[in-house]
Symmetry: C2
Subunit: 528 residues, 2 copies
């Protein structure tokens, strides 16, 4: 039980034993690096690896961390070989048989700070820098990562700590510089199905002339992310150089943000937050603002929807969250405009990539069936961004945005962006929807007084969205609509019978609509 680490006095003991050669072990371990040593291997026996399973593998100047597995079968690895799993082999990027070394990994340097946070202490700037650096470099075990996330959950971080965390997350990744005085962005905290305003706000604002390099995520728990829906129309994954060129030429883009190494610690943290259903204010602010600042935004409009089944359920809660966003944005030098919006029901008609792409294109074309709520919300958000321009009077943005949309300039801009990214040839007049359908009808007459965003998202996901882009839910009734018994509320589209069956089961348990009387309509005050 002697530690093999003692850098001060016994450097030779810590030095890698030599003589091993690398061997690719054809096992895919799902992004967890695993190293394999034979039990009889001299290195394994000499290093006393039993107690600790985290090792550092080195080859050709590269170092990766891995979990050690011990092998008793020379068909997998022999003595003198250092086996690594497929992902790890790719990261090392050297051929089979290349010299390699392995030693016990140093514990992450920020572990004492982590322990202090677990014990409820307040951490300083250097603590967050050290922790986030270790997380981004995958030096934390799953146990340590989870402990950090849970210890920072709820109201455990004060606002200055949230700022330190955000700043550290920006600092550990790439930070884009567009060489522009004004770089705008928008973001919604999420939770509202169909809410594809970015795909309208970007062409409107870019057509006005502001630089708007929009990168979005794919869906994590929702039936579609902006990247999923945009992908119906155009390629969203492209080399960063191409993205830059598109932004400089067209002032805007709608791309997937996953390849740019922006706030890489965020992705690691999300890998733990998601299975634990954690979405605390501090972590939300750090996640969103770190990505936006790293992406080079100078001005951000943030959409916080409120409603009975939205992430934020009351105006006091929204205002508290707004203040936290504003505090951190100010300290980061990001100009932030928070907009509280109506989150009582989905936005637009379609929920699912193809259905949402159809809605977006209808709004851009000023089509008579274009969903008015999606149009209005997008115009208001675009107007707020246009007002970031120093020569626009407060209050004029909406009118400017509307003129751009009504004149067809937004549609032309969207078509230019689609062409530049790589058009998919989507025919939005005849969208290919999942051919298996199920109409869900009103069980009684009355007025639609509630639509459960969470349950509707669940139904759309069970129907196949976003993995099956043609799947999803098409809403025919909205809050306040009168219905007679048996009238169709929404239509489910699926491509596979099993998916439709899952969605049907979910509907039968809870169809997401509540029918009542007008006085039961939820009231939500929203500002613009």
């Amino acid at each position: 039980m002697v530690s093999t680490k003692n850098p001060d006095s016994s450097p030779d003991r810590a030095a890698p034993p030599s003589g091993l050669v690398l061997r690719r072990v054809a096992i895919d371990t799902y992004h967890e690096n695993v190293a394999y040593l034979h039990r009889e291997c001299a290195v394994y026996r000499a290093e006393g690896f039993q107690a600790l399973s985290k090792v550092e593998v080195r080859a050709n100047g590269k170092r990766i961390l891995a979990t050690l597995n011990v092998v008793d079968d020379t068909a997998i690895v022999g003595c003198g070989e250092l086996g690594v799993s497929e992902d790890a082999f790719a990261q090392l990027a050297v051929p089979n048989g290349h010299p390699a070394a392995v030693s016990q990994a140093e514990p992450a340097a920020s572990i004492p700070a982590l322990f202090r946070k677990i014990n409820g202490e307040r951490l300083g700037r250097e603590d967050f820098e050290a922790i986030v650096r270790d997380i981004a470099q995958h030096r934390y075990s799953k146990i340590e990562l989870t402990a950090f996330v849970v210890a920072c959950n709820r109201s455990e971080l004060d606002r200055e700590e949230v700022y330190f965390l955000t700043e550290a997350m920006v600092a550990t990744g790439r930070r884009l510089d567009w060489h522009e005085r004004l770089v705008v962005d928008k973001h919604c905290i999420g939770g509202i199905p169909g809410n594809r305003t970015s795909m309208l706000v970007v062409p409107i604002v870019a057509a006005y002339g502001l630089v708007f390099p929009k990168t979005s995520s794919r869906a994590i728990t929702s039936p579609a992310g902006t990247a999923d829906t945009m992908e119906v129309l155009a390629t969203v994954e492209m080399p960063f150089e191409q993205l830059t060129q598109i932004v400089h030429q067209h002032h805007g883009c709608l791309a997937w943000g996953g390849t740019a190494d922006l706030s890489p610690a965020d992705d690691v943290l999300i890998s733990v937050e998601r299975p634990l259903n954690i979405d605390s204010p501090g972590q939300m602010v750090a996640s969103i603002l770190s990505k936006k600042v790293a992406a080079g935004a100078t001005h951000l409009v943030l959409d916080i929807p409120i409603g009975p089944t939205a992430k934020v359920r009351s105006m006091p809660e929204a205002q508290k969250l707004r203040r936290l966003f504003e505090y951190v944005a100010d300290r980061l030098g990001l100009s932030l405009d928070v907009v509280v919006t109506d989150g009582r029901q989905p936005i637009g008609r379609g929920v699912g990539p193809v259905l949402e792409a159809r809605d977006v294109m209808r709004v851009l074309e000023n089509h008579p069936d274009a969903p008015d709520d999606l149009r209005e919300k997008s115009l208001r958000l675009a107007g707020r961004l246009i007002e970031c321009s120093p020569d626009v009077r407060g209050g004029d943005g909406y009118r400017i945005a509307r003129d751009i949309l009504d004149s067809g300039r937004a549609l032309a801009k969207m078509q230019a962006i689609i062409a530049a990214q790589g058009a998919k040839g989507f025919d939005h007049h005849h969208p290919a929807l999942g051919s298996l359908t199920l109409d869900v009808a009103a069980p009684s007459a009355g007025v639609v007084v509630g639509i459960d965003n969470l349950q509707l998202a669940r139904i759309a996901r069970l129907a196949g969205a976003p993995k099956v882009p043609q799947a999803g839910v098409d809403l025919l009734k909205r809050l306040g609509d009168a219905v007679v018994q048996g009238e169709v509320l929404y239509r489910i589209h699926a491509s596979y019978a099993a998916d439709l069956a899952f969605a049907r089961d979910a509907c039968e348990r809870e169809n997401a609509y509540r029918i009542g009387t007008v006085d039961q309509l939820p009231q939500v005050f929203v500002e613009f």
Copy 2:
């Protein structure tokens, strides 16, 4: 992303695809079960395993949970084979080639309760029962396990929740019944090196005639646990039937508690608490009391040492902890007597298995070099236990214990227990100590005013204890002793030069002793 679980309506979809045969993959994955499927295997392709990596493996009626790895090399597993790591193979206990099935594991049923705890809610009895059952059955991922531990850390559990947790931990494992009205036990919350009172209290109290089936742990972070030290003298791992027989014949035993399946969730929780350095009051109470109740104790004396480098550092803190222990013990029907003791320095002279065994035997023999503090503390604790006997007046226990020790009856009892468990032939008159020694001397003249328990434990561990039983630290000076410059404070014993070098480095940084003036001695009030 359709869930494949839908027990209500599509049982056939959830049913295990058949036709696989089990194959032992000779990889030791350190107690984490891993299953291996070839990428081209029809089962892998059909089940959509990509998204979730936790699977259930079934063979011959047994079910185990495992993490799935995907293999691209038929030398490891071929199509139609279900590979499992060595531990998992042993758990299934069927031969290679036996039919087996694999499917996505159901998420643990208690996950919603876990999420409520993460969000700061109070949980009820059923919640803790469900969570602890899932933990004991290894249904929690490392992420979920860590989240539970951190969410229950600090003052997150109220005392009734601690009771529910403890009760659930007892209920999930085996519960021993000695068929005796009075079954006594003692426990120390830990943190004091050399504190081997159990090895004296057991023979004294058993010689008095009370039933004292003492099971102990091995060292987790200390230089020796009672099981490690007892193992110098006798076998400590034996079949449960043999243990029962020894207890019935001799009234006592000193065995390792690891094989009895007592409070199995505790061991799983410790696997996360230890790397995170978590030792919160609620978790300490649940861990200790669940083990004791499961082991069949009716009366427990609990030792809480306080001192500047002990686990508990002030009397108010000790009293708060005492009240929590008492509340939970009362609800469990366990008679508990908490004793707050002096934890300012190690107990006895030796720190490390052989050194501590020497001290214990010297006390039993009434040897002139027997450490008086170990003798006195053991007599006081034994006296408290003897007073559990209804025919002993309060205050008489100490005297009875002393008579038993002084008369040699305790030594005879210890020799009988050693013989029954299997004597190792340890010669405590000439203990074989690590032959490499280092004397650590006082850097200046004065009085010993501080001994750092934590640093001393660290030095003893670096010297090799408990893995090398002959290694450790032999204390020559204690609190209050006057020393001249250069006088030896303690001697380090090691069996390997590298270990001695590590211990020396640690001493050079911080030798654990503080020399000062008499007025600097820490004062600690302790009760008996």
